[in-house]
């Protein structure tokens, strides 16, 4: 039992990283094909990460600058442990959905601290945008979380997954929530049109402006985790999780694939427009869904 737990604790982050990385690989290729390009080799992200890690020289603006990516990665690893996947629920009993919401923040905090320490206004603006955007998508996000929780009468993510067994997905029972959840997860991933944070043409990749070498490598790894977290959470909440890894992966891939299509066609929001957007349509739809749950 304990051995099991330790084994899965070790294996889960690796799995999450692998999934995230695979999505990054696919994304490069798919977006190239949509743009009628050939695209880079499929394992290009691995080259990138390894290259960054193996840079001969790294620079640092201070301890927190270096710790930032580490804290971000640690936060992501921790978060991954709290998300049940494919019937494996590791720490889910120690922290429920609400705890998970705030554990997810640890990673952002590390990122924000490191970026702040880089003493670059572009980084600060990026973080300012990131946090503002976070406040933006948090409103619909908490509303759908509340409606899902009230629908299943539990905040335990594993129980929520269990309740969706045999095809009783939340997607079918609460379709409006699921749609909003998709928009929120998409916004949280920072793809177009919500890539305001890193917008290379405006703020020179925002928080990452001063990062290079292994620091940047860590951030890319973290991004892989990030993709996994957002989509796995969505799958757990709305698509009924899965009983085996393959099925889980397929569901995640389906979600990610739709996201990729959106990513390719949208331009970029202004930050205040993004917040206004999140506070308008997704919030209204989420509230409608919430009221439906309450009335039921």
């Amino acid at each position: 039992m304990v051995i099991d737990k330790i084994f899965f604790t070790i294996i889960t982050p690796i799995f999450a990283f692998a999934v995230g990385l695979s999505f990054m690989m696919i994304k490069l290729k798919v977006s190239a094909r949509i743009e009628r390009r050939y695209g880079p080799p499929i394992i290009q992200p691995i080259y990138n990460i390894l290259k960054l890690l193996l840079k001969e020289e790294n620079i640092s603006h201070g301890v927190i600058f270096s710790l930032g990516p580490v804290i971000a990665l640690a936060g992501s690893i921790l978060t991954v442990l709290f998300i049940p996947y494919a019937g494996i629920k590791l720490f889910t009993g120690s922290g429920d959905l609400i705890a998970l919401m705030y554990i997810m923040v640890i990673g952002s905090l590390g990122m924000a601290l490191g970026a702040g320490e880089s003493a670059n206004p572009n980084a600060s603006i990026g973080i300012s945008r990131a946090l503002t955007l976070m406040l933006g998508y948090d409103l619909p996000f908490v509303i759908i979380i509340i409606s899902v929780v009230l629908y299943y009468h539990t905040t335990n993510l594993a129980d929520i997954v269990a309740a969706q067994a045999h095809g009783h997905w939340t997607l079918w029972s609460l379709p409006l929530s699921a749609i909003v959840g998709f928009v929120v997860a998409y916004g949280a991933l920072g793809e177009h049109p919500f890539d305001i944070i890193t917008a290379p043409h405006e703020v020179a990749t925002g928080p990452m402006v001063e990062y290079g070498g292994k620091h940047l490598g860590f951030l890319v790894i973290n991004h892989a985790f990030h993709i996994y977290i957002e989509i796995a959470l969505f799958v757990d909440l709305f698509l009924g999780g899965a009983t085996n890894v393959l099925w889980f992966y397929v569901k995640m891939f389906a979600v990610f694939f739709i996201m990729m299509l959106f990513d390719e066609v949208y331009p970029r929001f202004k930050i205040d427009d993004a917040v206004r957007f999140f506070w308008k349509w997704p919030t209204i739809v989420a509230l409608i869904s919430l009221i439906i749950v309450l009335v039921k």
């Binding site: 490069l28 190239a32 743009e35 009628r36 390009r37 050939y38 695209g39 880079p40 080799p41 290009q44 080259y47 990138n48 390894l50 290259k51 193996l54 840079k55 001969e56 020289e57 790294n58 620079i59 290379p200 043409h201 020179a204 990749t205 990452m208 402006v209 001063e210 990062y211 290079g212 070498g213 940047l216």
Partner: protein, 170 residues
């Protein structure tokens, strides 16, 4: 891991580096006009793991596209020094080589490699995207063979470069 000698490790590293080259293009002149076709679907340089990046910290290649005058040289040097090792410089078009059409201008730098170590020049005015891609392929080969050692030269001959820079920039 410990079985690998340093030489082998370096080989592996170079192999990885040449497959993921991130480029910052310093667009001083008209040369940048040739980059969009290089990047987009017709020539698609991402096939070789090349990608445009925005800050010197993240980039491996500094692409100086066009003539360099005294004002921009200072920026080029700053950008170059902010890049992390290993880093490579490509002079794009004839201007960085000998000043090009601005060869007798009072403010234009005639030879870029007197101020920063240039690993590779792409001749022509303008070089076509094919030439650009060929240059990148050449650079990859050079990296693979360990010949692209501009950054090492810069460190070795720092006094020389600084002296030249001081002369121009004052």
């Amino acid at each position: 891991m410990d079985r690998l000698t340093e030489e082998q490790a370096k080989t592996i590293a170079n192999m990885l580096r040449k497959r993921s080259l991130w480029m910052i293009h310093y667009c001083t002149g008209c040369g940048a006009i040739e980059l969009p076709p290089t990047m987009t679907s017709r020539y698609d340089m991402s096939r070789f793991g090349l990608a445009p990046f925005v800050t010197p910290r993240q980039s491996d290649i500094l692409l100086v596209t066009g003539y360099v005058n005294i004002k921009t040289l200072r920026r080029i040097i700053t950008v170059y020094e902010q890049m992390l090792d290993p880093k490579y410089v490509i002079g794009f078009g004839s201007c960085p080589i000998n000043g090009g059409v601005y060869w007798d201008s009072y403010s234009v730098i005639k030879r870029l490699d007197r101020y920063i170590p240039v690993d590779l020049y792409i001749a022509g005015c303008m070089p076509r995207p094919e030439a650009v891609i060929t240059a990148f392929r050449t650079l990859m080969d050079m990296i693979d063979q360990g010949k692209a050692d501009g950054y090492k030269r810069y460190k070795r001959n720092l006094a020389y470069y600084k002296e030249n820079q001081r002369k121009v920039l004052g």
